[in-house]
Structures are given as C-alpha cells and as structure tokens.
C-alpha cells in the first residue's frame, strides 16, 4: 500500500526536512503520525498526498513508484487518496455541497448519481442544512467537517489527515474517529497527524514518531 525506502525531502536547495524514512503501511492499517511542530509531519503528508516528490529514496503508493511515475499517471492515483488539511483547503467560491462533490465529479460520477451521496455525507457530518453555504459563511468547525466529508466521500484507499479534530468539539471528534474506524474496517489505510494526546490515548494504534525529519520508531499506543 505505502512503502518508503530511504526517502528524503528537501525544498529547493534548502536543508533536508525529511531524511532516510523507511516504513511500510499495509492495506487497511491505521497509523498516528506524531511529532513536535517542525518535526516534518506536514512534509511527510505532502509526500503521501503527492504534493511533492521525494528528493531521495523510493516512495511507492498504491503500487505506483512515485519518484519515477509520469505526471499524467498521478491524477488517477491522487483520486484514490483522501486528504483532510489542517487549513481545510476548501474552494471559497463553492458551496459546501459543491466542495464535497468535487472528488466525485473529478472521478466522472454522473451528476444525477452523486447528489444523494453528497447529501448523505453532509447529513453525516451535521451540515445537511448548510449545504448551500459557502466556506466564508461557515465556522471553523463546520469548514473542517466539510473538508472531512470531501476527503472521505470517494471512499479513498488511503486517507491522510492533518489535525482533523483541531476545530471540532468532542462530539464531532468522536464521530470523526468512528468514521475513520469504519473506513479503516472497510480497508482504507489511514494516517492521522495530531498533537492531541488524549485522542491518541482514546484510540490506541501504532504510531510513526517524527523528530527532526527522521523517524524514531514505530510505537504502539495504548
């Protein structure tokens, strides 16, 4: 599913922000991604979302060798990866409905077939009545829920989340973790970056610890 062999990353001619990363994620696995600010969590997520390619080493995602893949092959791969960004990354000029519908439209789902799924997803994240609202009209928590709905609506094979509960109340956070657990049970590989230690304690799973761009060790959090 995900395999990193000696992966390093630097932006331009700057210093390496990730160095010599080696790990495997099996299909249907769950990992917390932990580390202090600046440890490289966001850079690792950027690698896994194909926002950047590794500077060194080999990265295999869903069977595709990213470092040698052709650009035109990557969109198809990206559609199998769902991402919840810390800053939501919603399209400001689109409604909540249209933001959530984007991945399905990109995948070519006919308009008539996606409306029910999008409406259901919005209902699940508690935004059924806010479907036509634009991001500027939504609170931070509501925007985050839209971002989560967008990330999971296409049932991605790999789901990456950067502080997904950062703007959610406890009830919503629990519901999100239940959703992630359900997706995980259905076979989605999930990586969640967080600083929220209580969340990690409540949902024990293996973790990737980053420190100064290097992977310390896989740890079991219980």
């Amino acid at each position: 599913m995900v395999r990193l062999d000696g992966v390093g990353l630097r932006y331009g001619t700057g210093p390496y922000v990730l160095q010599d990363l080696n790990f495997d994620l099996a299909p249907g696995s769950f990992r917390w991604l932990l580390g202090a600010s600046g440890a490289g969590k966001t850079s690792l997520l950027r690698l896994l979302t194909l926002a950047v390619r590794p500077t060194t080493g080999q990265l295999s995602l869903l069977g595709v060798h990213v470092e040698t893949a052709r650009r035109r092959d990557l969109p198809q791969l990206r559609r199998q990866i769902g991402t919840v960004f810390q800053d939501f990354r919603l399209l400001a000029h689109l409604s909540a409905f249209d933001n959530v519908a984007l991945p399905l439209r990109l995948a070519g789902r006919p308009e008539g077939q996606l409306r029910a799924d999008v409406a259901e997803m919005l209902r699940w994240v508690g935004l059924a009545r806010r479907a036509e609202a634009h991001p500027a009209e939504l609170s931070g928590g509501e925007q985050q829920r839209v971002a989560i709905a967008r990330a999971v609506i296409s049932r991605p094979a790999l789901l990456l989340a950067d502080e997904p509960t950062g703007n959610l109340d406890d009830v919503q956070a629990v519901r999100l973790m239940q959703l992630l657990a359900e997706l995980n049970r259905l076979g989605t590989t999930i990586v969640v970056a967080t600083h929220n230690e209580s969340l990690v304690r409540r949902h024990p799973a293996r973790a990737l610890h980053l420190q100064d761009g290097k992977l310390r060790e896989h740890m079991e959090h219980a």
């Binding site: 650009r71 919603l90 000029h93 070519g108």
Partner: protein, 302 residues
C-alpha cells in the same frame, strides 16, 4: 472526459479571475485594427489587379506630322493605322480630333484650333494576351519614323509594386495584431493562474488532470475573446462602410455618376467573407494560447 462540474459552472472561480471587461476590450481593439488592415490588404489587391489587368495593357502611340507622306507613299498616320490594323493580338483606335482637343484643353484652353498647331495623330492600343509591345514599337518606328510609343505598363508595374507593398504591409499588420493578441491572452491567462493558484492546486491535489484545468481556462478565455472580437468587428464594419463609400469613386466598380451608392456592395465580397473569420480566428488564438499557457504552468506542479 470528466469535468469538475456541469457545463457552464465555475469551479475555479474564473469569472472573477479573468475579468469580462479588460480582455474583451483589448481583443475588440485588435480585431478592429485587424479588420481595417484586412480591408486595406484586399483593397490594395483589387487596385493591383485593376492596374495590371486594365490600364497597364494600354499603349499610347503618337504619330507626329500625321499628314506627311512616308517614303513608301501613304500618309504617316495611315501607315501606322494600317500596321496596327494588321498586327495580331492588339486592338487599336485612333482618337478623334474632339478627343484630342479634350485632352489638350487643360493646357491650351478651348482655342487650340485657331493656333493651327500640327497635332500628332494619337492611337489608343489595347494589348491582348500574347501581344509584343517591344516588337510593335520597332515596327511602328520603321513604318513612320519618329512615332512615339508610351508603354503604360512600365508605370503601372511600379504602381503594382506599390500595391503589393501595401498588401504586404497590411498582411504584416494583421500578423502583428495576431501576435499581440496572443501575448495579451497569455498575460491575461497567467494573471488568472496567479489569482486562482490556490484553487487550482486544490483541485489538482484532488485528482484534476491538466486537461480539465486547461479546459476550464480555455473555455473562459475563448468566450471572452470571442465576445470581444465580435464587438470589435461590429465597430469596424460601419467604419469600413464609411471608408468604402468615400473611396467608391476611385474604385474599379465605381457607381455611375449620380447613382445612389449601394452600401452593402461597397465592400468587396471577399472582405465580407473574411470578416466573420476574424472572431473565429481570435477565438482559436484564445483557446490555443490559454491551453498552452495553462499546461506549461501546470507542468511546474509535481
């Protein structure tokens, strides 16, 4: 092909990023200029054809002392007339005394007759295909020494060159307008890319292909360019009709004196046929330029 949203939607927010004011106005100005240049090119072409095919095929033959006998016996004018009449692939006509008086009137006034000038006989010779003006001049000099042959084609060849230069200049102007239009569209597209960078990166990250994103830009740009081009063309047509009406008396197809000018026929049919091509060409330039600009920009993304 999958699209971001149903046709006509604005997923990338291009309605704000690519203003519907500036780009169409710039394109309108360029199409206006292109229409004028195109009209100039066709007008120059028509004039060149007229000069080459009409007046340029005329010779003027002047026979001094027309009523003096030649060595062979007949009068000089008669000898020239006989020679012209026997020469194949030409049509000759001797100008009457009244026509000569009319030609001389600006210089001699109406009293040329009493001056008792020994006016030359003047023949108007039209050269048909395959005629040999040089050989004819030699034969005329033998038949009536001192006969002058004015070959209009030399002068009209120069006018023809002038017309071709005008055509080339007009064609160059059209080309320059097309290049400027390409540059304007490229700059506008790049401005749109800069303004919507975040949105593009988001949909790109969600799996949008270069084709989808470039398609959104090129549809928007093509629509703006086409509307601007139509506006420019609508502005140009009254101007062209006005110019054509003003220059109608100098046209090969000048209306008869006193006849009301036919506005629609004032422009050559070729121009009427080519004018609608301008907005289509502008739209094609817009589409291709936007596609190329966006795809080149996207190539910088991983």
């Amino acid at each position: 092909m999958a699209s971001l949203r149903p046709r006509g939607s604005d997923d990338l927010g291009l309605r704000r990023a690519l203003s519907d004011t500036l780009l169409p106005l710039l394109v309108a100005a360029m199409v206006f200029l292109a229409a004028l240049a195109l009209a100039g090119m066709i007008a120059a072409s028509g004039l060149a054809r007229h000069w080459q095919g009409g007046a340029a095929t005329l010779l003027t033959v002047q026979v001094p002392q027309p009523d003096t006998a030649t060595n062979a016996g007949p009068l000089r004018a008669a000898a020239v007339a006989a020679l012209l009449g026997a020469t194949p692939r030409i049509a000759a006509r001797r100008l009457s005394a009244d026509e000569l008086a009319g030609i001389l009137r600006p210089w001699l006034g109406t009293d040329a007759g009493p001056l008792a000038l020994d006016l030359p006989a003047v023949f108007e010779v039209r050269l048909l295909d395959g005629a040999d003006p040089q050989g004819l001049a030699v034969q005329l000099a033998k038949a009536a020494p001192g006969t002058l042959v004015e070959q209009n084609s030399v002068w009209f060849d120069r006018l023809g060159e002038l017309a071709r230069s005008l055509q080339a200049s007009a064609a160059l102007a059209v080309l320059v307008v097309a290049l400027v239009a390409t540059a304007v569209v490229a700059v506008a597209t790049r401005a749109g890319l800069a303004a919507r960078r975040d949105a593009i990166e988001i949909v790109y990250g969600l799996g949008a292909t270069d084709r989808m994103i470039a398609g959104h830009f090129s549809r928007r740009v093509t629509m703006l360019v086409f509307s601007g081009a139509m506006f420019g063309l609508l502005l140009a047509i009254p101007m062209l009709l006005g110019l054509a009406t003003l220059t109608a008396p100098f046209s090969p197809n000048a209306p008869a004196a006193g006849a009301a000018p036919d506005v629609l026929r004032a422009l050559p049919p070729l121009l009427w046929a080519l004018l609608p091509v301008l907005p289509l060409t502008a739209a094609a330039i817009g589409w291709v330029t936007a596609q190329a600009t966006v795809r080149r920009w996207l190539a910088g993304l991983p």
